[in-house]
């Protein structure tokens, strides 16, 4: 594998993609898990499929279309939820399939043979291009800058929205940033695990990290590392046994989490140490 990694461009790209994906999934996954926004993120991920379809229809790079599309839908979901005071899972019950439906519709409307969607749905880390890597790296930088730059505001919003509003903090800005970052993370992860499998990679590393750390930034850091190991491990399995990479990564991530959860005994754990 090491010699292959040195010799083959596509493997080098896959390696870089695994690292870049784990940065996004570790940081945002932590927020999603701790703020209990898992289903919300699943919904936003699936609206991205509408963007992929739109990209094919308009003949622009699907990943750019997905970025714009999921950003817009994430922000409108946030807006609708705030104004209409709907239950988030009801909203997700509609937006989740709506994204898929729009994707199917756009692909149907696109003239010519329908393209294969499986690499967007299930991911294919071995076909990541230099262009994809560039987009992923830029989006990662954007995510890190936003988190570091607005850390105190975001932390206050994630922890206690009502108190933050009482202080007069810009809660609407924090909310918009959080939703936009989820949309961006989805786009970073699409090429690696695909729309349908994204949730596992967003949940497993932070849930794993939560066993060992009890501060927000510590959990973020540990889940980035755990995510990187999981993605690289999945990549190895996929390369060696010639199995689909998205599936390998997701199965590995859930295995890592469940085996830790089973072996881990809370009585032996001192979060302060």
């Amino acid at each position: 594998m090491i010699s292959a990694l040195l010799n083959y461009n596509y493997l080098q790209n896959a390696f870089m993609a695994a690292i870049l994906a784990s940065i996004a999934c570790g940081i945002l996954g932590t927020i999603i898990v701790e703020k209990k926004m898992v289903m919300m993120s699943g919904g936003i991920a699936h609206t991205a499929f509408g963007g992929i379809g739109l990209g094919y229809f308009l003949r622009v790079e699907p990943i750019y279309a997905a970025l714009v599309f999921s950003l817009l839908s994430a922000l409108s979901i946030a807006r609708i939820q705030r104004q209409a005071q709907v239950m988030p899972d009801v909203l997700m019950g509609m937006f989740w399939p709506l994204g898929m439906a729009l994707g199917i519709l756009f692909i149907y409307l696109t003239p010519g043979y329908p393209p294969s969607m499986s690499s967007y749905l299930f991911g294919d880390i071995l076909t990541v291009s230099r262009g994809d890597l560039l987009v992923m790296a830029l989006l990662d930088i954007l995510l890190i800058l936003t988190i570091v730059g607005f850390y105190h505001l975001l932390q206050a919003y994630w922890f206690d929205e009502e108190f933050s509003m009482g202080l007069g903090l810009r809660v609407l800005l924090a909310e918009a940033l959080t939703y936009a970052m989820i949309a961006v993370t989805v786009v970073v992860l699409i090429r690696v695990v695909g729309i349908i499998l994204i949730l596992a990679l967003l949940c497993a590393p932070p849930a794993f990290a939560h066993f060992f750390r009890s501060d927000l930034s510590g959990i973020m850091g540990l889940s980035v590392m755990a995510g990187a190991l999981i993605c690289l491990g999945g990549l190895c399995l996929s390369y060696h046994y010639n199995i689909p990479s998205g599936a390998a990564i997701v199965i590995l991530s859930v295995l890592v989490y469940t085996s830790t959860a089973l072996c881990f005994r809370p009585g032996l754990h001192h979060p302060n140490k």
Binding site: K35, D160, E162, N272
Partner: protein
């Protein structure tokens, strides 16, 4: 009125959520330095009154004034202690980080960092509330009474002149509750306190005046409540006689003291 400066004034205020009216035509004036208990049945609009004072919701009708101005103008003068049960205690955050959040204000700039004096104010508050040794604990590891103190500390580092508390002793045992009340009475030397509560002991032993809210304001004044008023507010007789409290006991049946 010849009274002192008004900390909070509600003038014919109506408010609600969606199509539901929570409070209607409330007139309430709270003097600076007072300790007001807001009582009333569940769903009677007590929390709505607090949210109006905080400026979290806008009145449909009427005016809310904090020191004579709109609530958002004097946000930095209000310390808010939400219901302890409403917070996400699983969230990975330490006591110190929670309390520091009280030092954030208005538009936190990009790359905001806490100043040295922010940390000093937090240390002082934690010391005063006797929770400095818990500063680096994760909030999930605290007892109910300790968590309540953390919430009060976070409101105090705002350096407010009014403290608004939403049921500060719900879920606490008698000794933790009395610690909270002692603390509040001490704080009342320096600032005005408005507290939503169901606790009859608090009403009898620590508040200076009460406001009974059920859809509208039924009573505001000295905390001795007649059975007729209780019937009017709660719709049924409620035991408002405090048991085993050596301080002040509410008016007996027949108006005897």
């Amino acid at each position: 009125m010849t009274a002192g400066k008004m900390a909070v004034e509600l003038e014919n205020v109506s408010a609600g959520y969606g199509s539901i009216t929570a409070v209607q035509g409330v007139n309430l004036a709270i003097e600076e330095g007072s300790f007001t208990g807001i009582i009333g049945p569940n769903g009677g609009g007590k929390s709505t009154i607090l949210k109006l004072m905080l400026g979290l919701i806008q009145p449909w009708q009427g005016k809310v004034r904090i020191f004579g101005r709109e609530p958002h103008y004097f946000r930095h003068l209000i310390g808010y202690v939400p219901q302890a049960a409403s917070s996400n205690r699983q969230f990975p955050i330490s006591v110190r980080q929670v309390v520091l959040q009280g030092r954030l204000a208005g538009s936190t700039p990009f790359f905001h960092r806490y100043h040295k004096w922010d940390h000093q104010i937090v240390e002082r508050c934690l010391t005063r509330l006797d929770i400095l040794d818990l500063a680096n604990r994760q909030i999930g590891q605290l007892s109910g009474g300790q968590w309540q103190r953390v919430l009060i500390a976070r409101a105090l580092v705002v350096q407010p002149r009014i403290l608004l508390l939403d049921e500060p002793t719900s879920g606490l045992d008698a000794s933790s509750s009395s610690l909270v009340y002692e603390l509040l009475q001490e704080l009342n030397q320096e600032l005005s306190i408005v507290m939503v509560t169901h606790d009859t002991i608090a009403i009898s032993s620590c508040v200076k005046d009460i406001a009974c809210i059920n859809y509208t304001l039924h009573y505001h004044g000295e905390p001795d409540i007649s059975p007729e008023l209780v019937m009017q507010v709660y719709g049924c007789p409620v035991d408002l006689i405090a048991h085993g409290v050596p301080h002040r006991v509410l008016g007996q049946h027949g108006g005897m003291q």
